[in-house]
């Protein structure tokens, strides 16, 4: 009745359903009406074209940060450094946007490329340490997050701007914003980055599934010793995986830097785009199409959640609980898998 593939698709769907269900019970428990709550969430995300535009805008960086985490996962690496790579990508895109004066056809790709390179460099270092010295990437990437955050703050304050809290806005020639998309969605901040994100998802799918290099990367992810025995260069694949993962994360930073905001500011804390990317990748099963769908769900929840307090009096924190519940059920997918297989057996 259920093929293995179907079970893999069903698990995240069941998890989301259970997460929403538990969220409804929690709302009930605190005396809120879950139907009104979810209706407000729906309206907050899709109520009119403005909110739909904002939802897509929020989805854009999530796709890329989700891809970044997923890509490293496929090679058996846990890249918690996506957050830091997002920040350096953000900084690089804005910096190139401000420092260089060029026509759009050169300027914009250059800014995007700079972000990808910066993120890649931030991923290269943990990859190198892992490949050459066996230093665990989780520890290094966590540290790199803080280095990125505070270096970026210091550069914004002392180098790019003149002791200010944020940089100038990047000029039109380096901006992903679009009058057309904005007017289409009643001045939402939807920008062309969405196309870049979708394109990146296609690239990830192609790279991992259709090239020999991708096969090697996945092989290293399945079993390093077997890969080494088969004559693959494990170290090089680890570094490559971290570099590509970092480049995706850097692009996510560019989405914010030259798309949503148009500037970089001194940050009091992490953006959480990278950390949410871990959840997106997990829910998306670490495959490109899954990440796109999961990012869409997360973006919807995040933007819709903003409407829950005004629309139905439900505190936004509850949405965080729902998201946590969804992740919990994905993480305990074994339980759901077991249940589904049970149903499958009985169905026979």
């Amino acid at each position: 009745m259920f093929s293995n593939r179907l079970v893999n698709i069903l698990i995240p769907i069941v998890s989301v359903f259970l997460g929403l269900l538990v969220g409804a019970f929690i709302m009930l428990g605190f005396g809120y009406n879950p139907f009104l709550g979810y209706l407000a969430l729906w309206n907050g995300a899709f109520g009119d074209s403005y909110f739909f535009g904002e939802t897509l805008r929020q989805v854009t960086p999530y796709i890329l940060s989700g891809l970044a985490v997923a890509f490293a996962f496929r090679t058996g690496l846990f890249n918690i450094g996506v957050e830091g790579q997002v920040i350096v990508g953000w900084l690089a895109s804005v910096w190139v946007g401000l420092a260089i004066d060029a026509p759009m056809i050169i300027h914009l790709p250059l800014a995007v490329l700079a972000a990808a390179l910066a993120g890649a460099a931030w991923g290269f270092l943990p990859g190198l340490l892992k490949a050459k010295l066996g230093v665990h990437e989780v520890i290094v990437t966590i540290m790199m997050n803080y280095i990125a955050l505070y270096t970026s703050n210091s550069l914004v304050r002392n180098v790019i701007s003149d002791g200010k809290d944020r940089t100038e806005r990047v000029p039109e020639t380096a901006s992903l914003t679009s009058e057309w998309l904005a007017s289409l969605t009643q001045y939402s901040r939807l920008h062309y980055g969405l196309l870049i994100a979708l394109f990146a998802a296609a690239i990830m799918w192609f790279l991992l599934n259709k090239t020999a290099r991708g096969y090697e990367l996945r092989a290293v992810g399945f079993n390093q010793d077997a890969s080494r025995y088969a004559g693959m260069n494990v170290g090089r694949n680890i570094i490559l995986s971290m570099v590509i993962s970092g480049a995706f994360a850097g692009l996510a930073g560019a989405m914010e830097g030259i798309g949503t905001f148009g500037y970089q500011s001194v940050k009091g804390g992490f953006t959480n785009i990278g950390f949410d990317g871990i959840a997106v990748a997990l829910l998306g099963g670490n495959v490109a199409i899954g990440v796109v769908l999961a990012a869409f769900l997360f973006g919807t929840l995040k933007i819709g959640a903003l409407n829950m307090p005004t629309g139905a009096g439900v505190p936004t924190e509850l949405v965080d609980i729902v998201i946590a519940m969804i992740i919990f059920f994905v993480a305990s997918s074994y339980m759901i898998r077991w249940f589904l297989l049970k149903v499958k057996k009985e169905g026979k």
Partner: protein
């Protein structure tokens, strides 16, 4: 068997849900009517009856024990005066990240609020953008300046208040070392630092002021670590201007006080009177607080806007003379008559213009050099 048991549990949960649902629905119903009312504010501009105000918090949230909370208290006071309540005439939207500011502002514009406050300098770029797109709606930004005809900028003379708590700190210290812990190293927090240093040095130029920035407004663990470091170096009074990070400063001070009740350990609070945060048994480590009455400002601007006197395009400054900046004297034991008198004297000098309190680091330097 097992799946049957699962079904039983599931159906029990469902039944529980139904029961709870019955309890919850009446409240939900009233919420719905609340929500629909706030919306129709803008139909007649300037008319008092359907004037509506809302605010967008920064990432600190509505219950930050600091200026977001204070601003909401101001709106509530305004609502009480004019027979409004949450959802009916006044409301707030909370932001979870920097990216939410625009979305929240636009949501409120779409709900036809007449006046929308952005609380905190972090919202300045968002207000600038949204105010441009919606010239018909009035906006107001706290702690920053946005030059648009439909935006009233509210700024406070925090340097004045910081100067006065600096005076109190200088008189209270026994080790001649005081500390300043800032949130993020930014123009706004530099203002606090400049005023504080000037105040301390005005009383006694020999007192050393140790300055450190935590780099975040929401990192109590960092605040605790920095405070621990400062206190162990001999600092005995710390003034924090760091929002939630300051909770760690209070925690550290209370720990030290508990271990050694005789020790001279003080914290100076910020934004609100943080007397409660410093309470430990029957002792209190809060010397005083630099109180910034965001509520007074918010209430004032709302009232002006309702009466058609909205100061659009202007920068409205609130300071000691409006009582929007003050020094708390709740801890009567610690704030001796001597200190209070000195603070009052300096306050008079500032209000009379005899003393020009520096508001940037450069100004502070030349001010201290000139002493």
């Amino acid at each position: 068997m097992k799946s049957r048991r699962f079904l039983l549990v599931f159906s029990l949960l469902l039944a529980l849900g139904m029961i709870l649902g019955a309890c919850g629905s009446s409240e939900g119903g009233s919420n719905e009517s609340d929500g629909s009312n706030g919306g129709n504010g803008n139909s007649e501009e300037g008319s008092k009856d359907d004037f509506s105000v809302a605010m967008v918090t920064d990432v600190g949230g509505i219950d930050d024990k600091s200026f977001n909370q204070s601003a909401w208290e101001g709106l509530q006071a305004f609502g009480k005066e004019n027979g409004m309540e949450k959802g009916q005439g006044i409301d707030y939207a909370q932001s979870a990240s920097d990216a939410d500011y625009n979305t929240n502002l636009n949501r409120l514009v779409r709900s036809d609020y007449d006046l929308i406050f952005g609380i905190g300098f972090l919202l300045a770029p968002a207000i600038e953008e949204v105010a441009d797109q919606n010239p018909e709606t009035k906006f107001s930004i706290v702690d920053s300046v946005v030059e648009k005809d439909n935006v009233a900028s509210i700024v406070f003379k925090e340097h004045q208040g910081s100067f006065l708590v600096g005076v109190a700190a200088a008189m209270k210290t026994e080790s001649d070392q005081v500390g300043f812990i800032g949130g993020v190293d930014s123009d706004l927090i530099n203002k606090f630092e400049a005023g504080f240093r000037a105040g301390v040095k005005s009383v006694n130029p020999a007192i050393e002021v140790k300055v450190q920035y935590a780099g975040a407004f929401d990192a109590p663990d960092d605040g605790k670590a920095i405070a621990s470091n400062m206190y162990s170096q001999g600092v005995d009074v710390i003034y924090h201007a760091s929002g939630g990070t300051g909770n760690g400063v209070f925690a550290q001070a209370k720990d030290l006080k508990q271990n050694d009740p005789e020790r001279n350990i003080w914290v100076i609070g910020v934004d609100r009177d943080q007397h409660e945060e410093g309470q430990i048994g029957d002792m209190n480590v809060t010397l005083t607080s630099m109180v910034k009455r965001v509520d007074i400002a918010v209430q004032d601007i709302s009232t002006k806007a309702m009466n058609g006197e909205f100061p659009g395009g202007e920068v409205v400054e609130y300071g000691l003379e409006d009582d929007a900046i003050s020094v708390a004297t709740t801890n009567e034991e610690a704030m001796t008559e001597e200190i209070k008198t000195a603070v009052e004297d300096w306050k008079q000098k500032i209000v009379d213009g005899e003393v020009e309190v520096p508001s940037t680091q450069e100004e502070a330097k030349s001010f201290i050099d000139s002493l």
